[in-house]
Structures are given as C-alpha cells and as structure tokens.
Subunit: 188 residues, 2 copies
DNA sequence: ACCTTACTATACCGTACGGTATAGTGATTT
DNA sequence: AAATCACTATACCGTACGGTATAGTAAGGT
C-alpha cells in the first residue's frame, strides 16, 4: 500500500475516534510512519486531507442513492431502495459512517461542518427530487417533500444507530420494517 | 446578572456555535467581559465549565422525563409524555439542545463525549425502565426494551430536527403524530 | 484597626498546533 | 551525463491553547 492510502486509512481511524479538531496532523503522520511534508505533499492541508477522505468514501454511496431515487411511479419501491442503500453504506464502512454522522451533527460554524456541507446536499438532493416527483401522483403529499426527506433520512439514522448498539444486522428485513413504519407516518 | 451567569450564558452560545474543542477559554472571557482568573475562580477548568453548563440545563428535563416514565399500565400515555417532555426540552432552549445533540454524536474518545456520557445514561435509564416494566404486561415486547428506547429517542430527535429545519412548532399534535408512528413500529 | 473572604487583573508558563523552508533522495527522461 | 521529477526527512516558524503565579481590590466580621 502506498503512502497516500496509508495516510487516508489512518486519518479515517483517528478522525472517527477523536474528531477532526482533536486529531493533530502529527498524530496522523506518526501513525502512518511518515512525516509531515509527505502528508502535505499528497494533501495540501489538513482540510484537503479531510476533503479527500470524504470524496473517496461518499462517492459510491451517492451514486447508488441517485439510482435508488429514480422515480418509476412506485414510491414504496424507491423508499426501500433508499433505505437499503443507506444501510449498506453504513454497514460496509461503519467507521466512516460514524465519522460523517458526527460531522453532520457538529456545530454549524466549525471547519468540519463546512467541509461536509456539500455532501449533505448531495445526499438530500436526490431524495428531495424523489418526493417532489411523487407529489405529482399523490395529492395529499403536496408541499411536504422537504419534511419527508428529513424524516426518512432521520429514521434511517435512528435504525442504524439502533443496529450498531444492539449489534444486529442492517439487512433487507430491517429496511423493510423501517419502510413500513415510515409509510405509516406519511399516510396517517 | 452576576459574572458566573454571564460566563455560563456566553459559554453556551460559543460552545453551541463552534464546538467544545474549537472554543477557547479566552474567547469566552472576552465575550463575557472578564478575564481568565475570574472564569477559573467559578469553574475549576474548561471541563468544569462545561459540566456546570450541562448540569444546569439538563436537570429540569431529566426530572420531568422521570415523571413521564412512571408506568401506570398505560404505555401509550407514557410514550406521549416522553415525547412531549423531550419536545419541550428542545423548544424551550434550542441552543442547548443543539449543543447536547452535537456532543452526543461526537467521536467517543473526546473530552466532550466523556463529559456528556453520564447525562446520556440519565436520559436512557428512565425510558429503559419504562419499557422494561411494560414488557411484563405485553408478552410480544419481551427482550426489546433497549431497542425501543433507542428507537423512541432517535425518532424524537428526527422529529425535532425536522421541526427546526422546517420551522414548525414542537407542539402536542406533533408529539401525538410521532407516538402513532412509533407505536406502529412496535406492534407490526 | 485588623483579618478574612470573595473576587478580579496583569503577565506569564509550557505545550501543541497547522504549516513550511531547506535540503536532500532515488528513479526516469533526455 | 545531465536534468527533471516525485517524493521524503530535519528542523523550524508564528500562533494559540489551557492554565497559573502574583498581586491586588472591595466588602464584611471581629
């Protein structure tokens, strides 16, 4: 494994364990067996390192999420796919999931929040389009696309948190259960 | 207002805006119009300041939550009360709610997480007892008290987040809606 | 008058931070 | 053989951090 990958790997572990602010560049270098100029050669700053980390880990999930949000007049199917892709995202790289979750919920005026903002948008945007498209087929959903987006993703996180703490699998069954519960919230 | 209260008030604003790590003691002092020895007189350390902040703001909520979790063989009633008290907690001091939420979801090895851990337990414990008590009256809930606790509190957070971002009121109607959705998840 | 107590300002401590200037190294290109 | 390139180590920069030693001040008790 080359130095760039080693740095990214150790940065993920340290950032996820101690947070962005509390993790020093020197610490990442020590853990990776390199020195600072090497790190600054590959990533132009601490921020640049975090940006690269987010890009590498988010990209496949966002791509799959976009597919999951392609509306084909079957909203329940879409919702199941959104939940499945999000569960898979969390399960396949739990460390990164924890990191991004803590950053999303970090105070809004910190560097960490700045860096993750575009990715939050990239996640919300396709889900929001999905519910906007579904509105046209279902009158009593009108004007609530934004609310549905927040609630669906919020519920996914609640399920993931539960699965992590209870050590149960984030499988399709759980996604189905979450979908039923979410849809009940919509149509009641 | 005395200096102690001024410091606590400004610390809340700054910690909630920029985070515990990113907020310097000097910044809090400047904002409060005092100097560091004054702060260190009232609070023995930066950590002590945060602990005092949590204690003052959490205590009334935990007390009310405990009442809400007193089981009288009417679980739906208890759940409604848990949601109501939590919604009220968030709405009456949104800044503090945001602060504690970001700390709860912060990386588990930081000082901020250490400080808040006992309060997380103080919140979980009465809700867990509630579901444990309800288990005895309802066989098909057996062994899931922990899962219900996490899901209920997680759902409350999802609703609060939605209410904040959509600028809608965290009133009893919303608590009722959240309860229905949660109970659907239990009994299905 | 004297002592204690609660509180506050000036000025400083050691440490760690993010980042870099300098000087290489070893492989590839010309 | 010379020059170029990607990469890496040593040693250092200025700044900001959490925290404190010292020296008061102002009020109340005796």
């Amino acid at each position: 494994m080359n130095n760039r990958e080693t740095i990214l790997e150790n940065a993920l572990i340290l950032f996820a364990s101690f947070g962005y602010d509390a993790t020093g560049v020197q610490e990442i270098c020590d853990q990776s067996g390199i020195t600072k100029p090497t790190l600054y050669h590959y990533f132009r700053s601490k921020r640049g390192l975090m940006e690269a980390l987010l890009k590498e880990n988010y990209t496949p999930y966002i791509k799959r999420l976009k597919d999951a949000c392609e509306y084909r007049r079957d909203l329940p199917q879409n919702i199941a796919e959104v939940l499945r892709s999000t569960f898979h995202f969390a399960e396949s790289n739990l460390l990164f999931y924890k990191l991004q979750f803590s950053m999303r919920n970090a105070p809004a005026r910190g560097e960490a929040y700045d860096i993750i903002t575009p990715w939050i948008k990239a996640q919300h945007e396709p889900v929001l389009s999905l519910f906007s498209a579904a509105e046209k087929d279902n009158g009593n959903m009108r004007g609530r696309a934004q609310a549905y987006t927040i609630t669906l993703l919020g519920m996914a996180n609640a399920y993931i948190q539960q699965a992590v703490e209870e050590d149960i699998a984030l499988n399709d069954d759980l996604a189905y259960q979450a979908r039923q519960q979410f849809m009940y919230g919509i149509f009641s």
